[in-house]
């Protein structure tokens, strides 16, 4: 089966800093792949390289076997790559409903041409992520947890084939985390492949089918969540070396 995403030897330099260093991995269809790593490991850069807001210094990203090299972000979105932002970026002056409607108007396949249809779909998407009560509110009036869900609804309204989640659980309480996990599972059950960046280890361990660890821009582990988290290098990356 063709992988949903193939990351092939991708490197990204910012002047002297190598944010992502020769990283390769696959995202299989209907898989939930968790990406973890300490601060500054290159996780968000990786998502930006896939969604097209940054270009790789070298290497290539393939979507369903097709190279995305040189393709602008909006065309990747129309192919079916949806992303959320870690620093939540709603369209602040628009209502919650219209924020999501933008995704339905422009997303996968070019979206709906009709505003009424797009709003209808947006409403359904907001119900799905649990923001059904806030449709008429302005997006900048939502609190942090609400904005996280809004980011998710915006990306889902694009009807993506691949969803890239950048820390959608950061700052949420345990109940909210469980709710978001349930939403992401349902998304996967609908046939979408998901890449999740997360800091909350416990949450991502139960959610992911597979776990990938970045450290200083390099991939240091990739495999079953339990074995990855038991891996000595991974433990050292997070906690440092034990000195006796």
């Amino acid at each position: 089966m063709t992988p949903a995403l193939e990351i092939r030897n991708v490197t990204r330099r910012f002047a002297g800093l190598i944010a992502v260093n020769d990283v390769s991995f696959l995202l299989q269809p209907r898989e939930i792949l968790g990406v973890i790593g300490p601060n500054g490991a290159g996780k968000t850069t990786l998502i930006s390289l896939i969604s097209g807001t940054l270009a790789p210094t070298s290497g290539d990203v393939l979507f369903e076997g097709q190279s995305l090299a040189g393709m602008p972000a909006y065309r990747r979105a129309r192919l079916g790559i949806g992303r959320t932002f870690q620093i939540m970026r709603p369209f602040p002056g628009l209502s919650v409903l219209d924020n999501v409607a933008v995704g339905a108007l422009f997303g996968h396949g070019g979206g709906h041409a009709k505003l009424a249809k797009a709003r209808e779909q947006a409403r359904a998407q907001l119900e799905f992520v649990g923001l059904g009560k806030f449709v008429d509110q302005r997006a900048d009036e939502l609190g942090g947890p609400g904005r996280k869900r809004l980011e998710l609804a915006k990306a889902l309204a694009m009807q993506p084939k691949v969803l890239l989640c950048d820390e959608v659980m950061a700052g949420l309480n345990l109940v909210e985390i469980d709710e978001v996990i349930a939403v992401i599972r349902k998304v996967r059950d609908a046939g979408i492949s998901v890449l999740v960046i997360e800091h909350v280890i416990k949450a991502i361990k139960s959610l992911s089918d597979r776990l990938l660890v970045l450290h200083h821009g390099e991939k240091i582990a990739d495999g079953e969540p339990d074995s990855v988290l038991a891996n000595q290098t991974v433990v050292e990356a997070y906690l440092g070396k034990r000195r006796i």
Binding site: S51, Y74, F85, F91, P92, F106, G107, K154, M158
Partner: protein, 315 residues
């Protein structure tokens, strides 16, 4: 509520349309100027208010529209309508050629880059023989102010309907998304470069048509007046005063500020511009998001609206 609003707009339109049949010559002439300024403010609203790019280049479109009509009529002896089309073609070409590089800049940088365009155009046109160099062009006169008035009003209606369409179309939503968060819009599938350029061009079409009508009306154009940067400042002030990113705000802003400015300059001639400046400063302080926003919130918060705005300015 909605029906009432539509009735009000239609009534206002009927009154405006009837002005040439009961108003004095002075009123009609004031009307033409005010309506053309409203068209410019509404045109600026598309790129500045909806797309969020504070363009100082719209006076260039205005100048190109003037020269389109000027060259077509004075040099080639073609009808007025052909001149308008020629001006629009010039403006759209300019918007596409310069929009693509300039619209890559954001915020202040975009404003400064477009600010320079008007200066450059004055210099270029002053050296083009077809455009009458720095002497200018004299157009065949047409003494029919009623016609010019109704043409300007028709253009304003067209511009306003276009902006109304923006608020409920896919294209308009793309522009608003760009204004609110350009990177966010891009990753959601909005072709930001294309949309920005189209908004710039559409904004230019209305400015060019206004410039064309004005040129034929005053029957004389020269580079200094056609590419006058202060006109661009005026359209921005008017749009922002009324409420950028709203359908009727720029129109109300332009008409009311024109009236205030006219009143001041006839009543207290020597200090008129000083008072006009004060009106603008006070407006910016007490209602920074324009008349439209003020009216919307005033109903909810009352006089506190002004107090809160003053407080946020730390005055």
């Amino acid at each position: 509520m909605k029906a009432l609003r539509i009735m009000l707009v239609l009534a206002a339109f009927a009154v405006l349309a009837a002005v040439p049949w009961f108003g004095s010559d002075v009123l009609i002439q004031f009307g033409i100027n005010a309506l053309l300024l409203a068209v410019l403010a509404q045109g600026w609203n598309i790129i500045g208010g909806y797309t969020g790019y504070a363009s100082f280049g719209n006076s260039v479109f205005y100048g190109l529209g003037s020269y389109g009509v000027g060259i077509a009529m004075a040099q080639w002896h073609l009808p007025f309508a052909v001149g308008l089309v020629f001006g629009v073609v010039l403006a759209v070409t300019f918007a596409v050629l310069l929009g693509i590089p300039v619209l890559r800049l954001r915020g202040h940088y975009f404003a400064i880059a477009t600010l320079a365009l008007a200066q450059v155009m004055t210099a270029i046109v002053s050296n083009v023989e077809l455009a009458g160099q720095n002497i200018g062009l004299v157009l065949p006169p047409l003494n029919n102010d009623r016609l010019f008035y109704e043409l300007s009003l028709g253009l304003l209606v067209l511009a306003t309907l276009t902006v109304f369409w923006l608020t409920r179309s896919r294209f308009g939503f793309g522009l608003i998304a760009i204004r609110e968060n350009e990177e966010g819009a891009e990753v959601m599938g909005v072709n930001t470069t294309l949309y920005k350029t189209m908004a710039f061009a559409l904004s230019g079409v209305f400015s060019a048509l206004a410039g064309g009508i004005h040129a034929y009306w005053v029957t004389f154009i020269d580079p200094e007046s056609a590419f006058d940067i202060s006109l661009n400042v005026k359209m921005i002030i008017m749009a922002v005063f009324g409420g950028p990113g709203t359908v009727l705000g720029p129109v109300v802003g332009a008409l009311s500020l024109s009236a205030i400015s006219e009143f001041l300059s006839s009543e207290i001639t020597s200090l008129a511009s000083l008072f006009f400046g004060i009106v603008v400063v006070v407006a910016v302080v007490i209602m920074p998001r324009g008349l439209a926003d003020m009216l919307r919130r005033f109903r909810k918060t009352g006089w506190r609206y002004f107090a809160e705005n003053i407080r946020t300015h730390r005055l």
